[in-house]
């Protein structure tokens, strides 16, 4: 076998996979066609799950601090895993207004991000709907308080004593307390706050961006019928 034949053979065997698995899917997926929100009403506009919050900045902090090594951001359909059966991963099982809002991740859920942090492993829970969980279940009156407390000391609360999440203390600045604790100073659920009698811990801009990003993760909006695989819809039909 000559060098030329070798290179050609290599190019063909590699190129076939390169085209089929990498390049063509990449090109085709760039221009994902918008789906009409309601196929019957042409004026309803496209399905546009706009995310509120500092998605781009927060995603950068999420990436550079390696959260994707322990947390995933994908709710797998039932043929690929049991994620959807959990009560608060794909959405809420018992949302007061909408009932069961759980759904698997769809291609429009990463709007605003350049790289989807699907995740490497699950040491911690999936984060696709962490914003929904925090606002509906953990701390509705002050969602960001829960997240700042978790980032500062993940092991403080009794139900998460065994958490192995690293402490992101370095994202908080210790400041002198003014006339009272600042609005976003770290406080735990028992009302106590770290720091001495005269100091408080206030999130820096990285922490604020990260928490804003996490609170934007509410991927359980209603979806158009063409990508809605929830079983009860089939029953209604």
């Amino acid at each position: 076998m000559s060098l030329r034949h070798f290179i050609i053979g290599l190019s063909v065997s590699f190129g076939l996979a390169w085209l089929s698995v990498v390049v063509i899917p990449f090109v085709k997926m760039r221009n994902l066609a918008p789906i009409a929100l309601n196929a019957e009403e042409p004026d309803s506009g496209p399905y546009f799950p706009k995310r509120a919050g500092r998605v781009a900045n927060g995603a950068e902090i999420y990436a550079s601090n390696g959260c994707y090594n322990c947390h995933t951001q994908v709710v797998r359909p039932t043929y690929a895993g049991n994620d959807l059966f959990r009560a608060d991963w794909g959405g809420l099982k018992a949302d007061p207004e909408r009932g069961d809002t759980r759904r698997e991740t769809n291609a429009y859920d990463f709007l605003g991000e350049k790289f989807a942090h699907i995740g490497v492993s699950r040491v911690g829970p999936d984060l696709s709907n962490v914003g929904r969980r925090v606002e509906a279940i953990y701390s509705p009156e002050n969602p960001s308080r829960w997240l700042y407390a978790h980032l500062f000391n993940p092991r403080y609360e009794a139900d998460r004593e065994k958490s192995t999440c690293p402490s992101f203390r370095f994202m908080f600045d210790e400041k002198e307390v003014g006339t009272g604790l600042s609005d976003d100073a770290v406080t735990f659920s028992d009302g106590r706050s770290p720091g001495s009698d005269t100091t408080e811990f206030v999130p820096n801009s990285d922490a604020k961006a990260l928490v804003s990003y996490l609170l934007s993760m509410k991927k359980d909006q209603p979806v158009p019928a063409s990508i809605d695989f929830a079983p009860k819809k089939a029953e209604e039909k």
């Binding site: 698995v21 790289f115 699907i118 492993s121 829970p125």
Partner: protein, 500 residues
């Protein structure tokens, strides 16, 4: 030419080749070993943080999310690539019977590579990582790495092209393939993830494809090239079957480029992509089996060589690692059963360490133990240091295999038990995490000996002897070190065993 005159000519050519390559290859080996030590320390720290999160906590640059990617980056780009460069350059020069005329350029490029990896690592620890698994270096680093890579390996490409007529060795095909595959996957992945704008989930898929490609299309062929060289060379026997070797090579070339996307099963990308990836990864046991059978049958025909020669012992251990790794790829990626359990578990990390350490690194150690005496014209100082290196690495890597193949499955089973609260699944990891920390401790211990030994050789403090340092000592008069002990420029009897 008479055969004796020819063999003297050959011996002289071999010595010339070795001398021309001494500086770049020793540089790559030694600095690679240093990076290995750095990577293992980082791996130990990150593994400790998995079960003891308050260990060294509170510092930004040591947070788990930065230390772990730094560990992988040092292992892959620091140790893996530099060991591969050293081996590729030396092997191709020897097999193509060419002296290296660009040693200076290669050495300079090697320093640039080192510098780039250092900056990249500092970038990751400093909080500028990109968040793309195995591509975490800040984005200005990858073009530097690509250009440096070209400057290092292109001379070997040229050497192959202008080689004298004659037999083409299997190793040469594997080295050429690795040389060409890496820039193909590296350029594609970096352009599609960082430069061209595409769909975020597809970018994640391509990163997963790149990770798999790096393992199967660069590190695997380089390791196979080294073992296809060492096995016949050290045992003095021909490769068991050339046809099987060709089958192994082309099956790798055809199957491996499809693998990788099984990491994204269930994610919103076209359905066929992850399942093709899982199928390809599972089928890769075919080239693993082909190469494994071939090399093992070659070496086990002379078991005393495996027992005595450090290079061969490490290579055989590496080939056994290849077989474990190949079959792990089969068992961990079955779409109906194990894939959903292992997709987001320790199995992934264990699988990668199986590939990078139990297979690739062991064979690289074997190659280093072979090559370094020849280019420094000194022998290894102590067989006990080599034995320590071997056994502690083996202990460590067995622990990692257990975790990968068993612990990951257990963790995955816990994850799939959706009725239980998440903390149940999370705490299942605990014992396996401790196991991994112990494994890294063993491996660090073993590599301390290795690095020490290698540095002494680099400083030309090895034994001046033409008797190789073997793992088995012969007491009494038939000691290979000769009657006088260390300094022994013995005659023909010892030269035969050493005429490589």
């Amino acid at each position: 030419m008479s055969s004796t005159a020819q063999s003297i000519q050959d011996a002289k050519l071999r010595a010339d080749i070795d001398r021309s390559l001494r500086h770049p290859v020793m540089f790559f080996m030694t600095s690679g070993a240093a990076w290995l030590a750095v990577s293992i320390i980082l791996g130990l720290i990150s593994s400790a943080k998995v079960h003891s999160p308050e260990f060294l906590s509170g510092f930004g640059w040591l947070t788990y999310g930065r230390v772990f990617p730094a560990h992988i980056a040092a292992l892959v780009y620091g140790w893996g690539f530099q060991a591969a460069f050293g081996v590729m350059i030396w092997l191709m020069a020897r097999l193509s019977r060419q002296e290296c005329k660009s040693a200076g350029i290669i050495l300079a490029a090697g320093h640039v590579w080192n510098f780039a990896v250092s900056i990249g690592l500092l970038g990751i620890l400093g909080g500028a990582g990109t968040g793309v698994p195995w591509m975490e270096f800040p984005t200005f680093i990858w073009p530097v790495l690509l250009v440096t890579y070209f400057v290092i390996v292109v001379w070997s490409f040229i050497q192959f092209r202008v080689r004298p007529s004659g037999y083409v060795y299997i190793s040469q095909w594997y080295i050429m393939a690795a040389m060409v595959w890496f820039p193909w996957i590296f350029l594609t992945a970096n352009l599609l993830v960082f430069v061209f704008q595409g769909h975020p989930v597809m970018a994640a898929g391509i990163a997963a494809w790149f990770k798999s490609g790096l393992i199967f299309l660069f590190f695997t062929p380089v390791a196979l090239a080294a073992s296809y060289y060492l096995a016949p060379k050290v045992t003095g026997r021909p490769i068991f079957s050339y046809t099987l070797a060709k089958l192994g090579f082309w099956s790798l070339a055809i199957i491996a480029p499809w693998a990788g996307m099984q990491k994204l099963t269930g994610a919103p990308i076209p359905f066929f992509l992850p399942y093709l990836g899982a199928a390809a990864t599972a089928l890769l046991f075919i080239p693993a089996l082909a190469a494994g059978v071939n090399i093992l049958r070659t070496t086990l025909a002379s078991p005393e060589a495996v027992e005595q020669s450090p290079s061969l012992r490490f290579s055989v251990a590496g080939i056994i690692g290849l077989l474990v790794f190949g079959f792990a790829g089969l068992f961990l990626n079955l779409p109906g059963s194990s894939l959903k359990l292992t997709q987001f578990s320790l199995s992934g990390y264990g699988f990668e360490i199986l590939a990078l350490y139990s297979f690739f690194s062991f064979i690289m150690f074997g190659a280093i133990y072979f090559i370094v005496p020849r280019i420094t014209r000194r022998e290894w100082l102590s067989r006990r240091l080599i034995s320590m290196h071997f056994f502690f690495s083996v202990y460590g890597i067995i622990a990692v295999s257990v975790v990968a193949l068993f612990g990951g499955l257990m963790q995955g089973i816990g994850q799939e038990e959706w009725i239980q609260p998440w903390i149940n699944a999370a705490t299942r990891t605990y014992p396996y995490a401790i196991f991994i920390t112990i494994a890294w401790a063993f491996i660090l211990f073993s590599n301390v000996f290795f690095f020490l030994h290698l540095t002494l050789m680099w400083l030309r403090l090895g034994r001046r002897s033409s008797h190789p340092t073997l793992l088995v000592s012969h007491h009494g008069g038939s000691s290979p070190h000769g009657a006088e002990g260390d300094i022994d420029n013995a005659g023909p009897g010892s030269a035969d065993a050493h005429a490589h």
